[in-house]
Symmetry: C2
Subunit: 328 residues, 2 copies
């Protein structure tokens, strides 16, 4: 039995969340609902313009393993913070959520990464990410024994962008494969797919057992407007393909079957940040517990619905109780 159910590699980020009008974005030419990378200078300027914030730990794959841990999965995380207060906050929060996290903080170099998240009245989040120390993760941080001891290695597409972390993820895939473990991957965002389409397709061709993406990401991957065609392509490669569809739920293809799962109703969408992350976390936690694929997707939807009902991408309610009340 592996020591961990899921080991995630991803950006170690603290979210800085403020509420703004749509004008705040349009007047700056920032596309509503997207994620983009910004440098330190732009981060400072944008932060200066933003209203009062809330700081809540984030990072896509980190959010996923926090969600999975809340559902009872044994989880670990690899990612780089700096030796600073935001790094302490990230480290505290992920450990307090029950996730093993032992990557050494970078000293010197850029500060801990942060994501400046603008939430508009529709609940949509627009993310402006300053990666900072996240990019300092490299292969030397990789504890091969840890990777070998995790049933699923989960990788976020966001972290494919900087070169050193990408090499670390490639090394991790090799270790996981040799140990006979599963590899799961999320496409993360259309901009990641656009930037690394060849790599992502090659990954799917040979290495990935579980693939997560939303409809836009999957369509971008195969450069088509036909979601069914894109999913058919995907299904050729990955053992399990999961496409999230916001309020419409998710589609899962696996074991020769296709399942459509409805979305979970949310009384009021406050902040959509982390919806996809919590979906993936809930899905994987259920999978390692031996649930059926449609149940995995349902639990993903329930987890996502919780996290969009409040500010921040980490669950506030007891996910296990919530899932039990809806499913069992």
């Amino acid at each position: 039995m592996p020591q961990y159910d899921i080991l995630a590699m991803g950006n170690a980020i603290v979210d800085v969340i403020s509420s703004e009008t749509p004008d705040f974005l349009s007047s700056r030419g920032i596309q509503h609902g997207c994620m983009r990378l910004i440098d330190a200078t732009e981060a400072e300027a944008l932060y200066g313009a933003m209203g009062p914030g809330r700081e809540i730990s984030g990072g896509s794959a980190a959010n996923s393993v926090v969600g999975a841990a809340a559902l009872g999965a044994r989880t670990a995380f690899v990612g780089r913070v700096a030796s600073d207060q935001l790094g302490q906050v990230f480290t505290h929060d992920i450990r307090a959520a029950g996730v093993h996290f032992a990557t050494a903080p970078a000293s010197g170099g850029p500060p801990t990464g942060r994501c400046l998240i603008v939430v508009t009245p529709d609940g949509e989040r627009t993310m402006n990410t300053y990666l900072g120390a996240c990019q300092e993760l490299d292969s030397s941080d990789l504890d091969a024994a840890l990777v070998a001891q995790a049933g699923i290695l989960y990788l976020e597409g966001y972290l494919w962008d900087p070169a050193a972390p990408r090499a670390a993820m490639q090394a991790a895939i090799k270790v996981a494969r040799e140990a006979g473990n599963k590899v799961a991957f999320t496409l993360s965002d259309v901009f990641c797919v656009e930037g690394h389409r060849g790599d992502f397709r090659a990954l799917l061709e040979s290495h990935v057992d579980i693939m997560f993406g939303n409809e836009n990401e999957v369509k971008a991957l195969y450069q088509t407007d036909d979601i069914d065609a894109a999913m058919a392509e995907l299904a050729r490669h990955a053992c399990i393909t999961v496409v999230t569809r916001s309020e419409k739920g998710a589609v899962v293809i696996g074991g020769g079957h296709r399942y459509e799962v409805p979305g979970e109703r949310v009384a009021k969408v406050v902040d959509t940040t982390g919806a996809g992350d919590l979906f993936a976390g809930g899905f994987m936690a259920a999978l390692v517990q031996g649930r059926s694929l449609p149940d995995c997707a349902r639990i993903g939807c329930i987890s996502a619905a919780e996290v969009i009902s409040h500010f921040g991408a980490r669950p506030e309610a007891d996910l296990r109780t919530l899932v039990a009340s809806k499913l069992d």
Copy 2:
């Protein structure tokens, strides 16, 4: 016409808020619902034991002026952060709320102060404050011209504890008095009253125009269990005396009259942090706008009700719209 309506002096603190069971407090011998000061070692140990947090700027008088600014008052704040990330967060948030804040950050010395806030399922907050850089505020930070240019100088009792900030507040009172401005003071907490009863009584005797306190603080001030007797004592000194009574609202004594104002109904109390702060902020903002004393207290209650309906001691809703919908 003064440049600012309200200038507050207080602790410059970032709140770290986690949700815990009552056992978390009782097993550590921490009294539910109180505020206590802790040192760096205890802060580290307690933080390590707390669950995942949210970081939201706080500080009692700082919260008050943020609330007053949201209601249209022209406000300024004096308090000390360190040159670190939490100091940047505090500085950003208070300025983004429209409050003038120009106290130089301390370099070297202890880090920015933080308050480890444990919120229990009843919504009550228990505050464990590490003052850090807050204590480094001294008379040299005082911009006498700024103090002279503020209609109301508002002081928090919490900041009376450390010696250097106390001296700075005493100097500020002198400047405000000489400029013919008003001085407002909050008793802050029973522990502050217990530690500085003589000072607080002397302040009331000669210097304070507006005094805020809750029932327990006012009773502690005059060492009596009879709230009416305590309020009669208070009314002898201060021009305006305001006693907050949680969900029961507030009592105001001023101009030879006594007014009782009902509390504002709250659908669900999430986190009581900042209730008294927002009451005082709302009250003073209304006062400088020339509202009647009962209306000032009502606006205080409406502001307090908003802040306890979510995590964090800074308002999330548009207070001006909220007040208009309830009062005008």
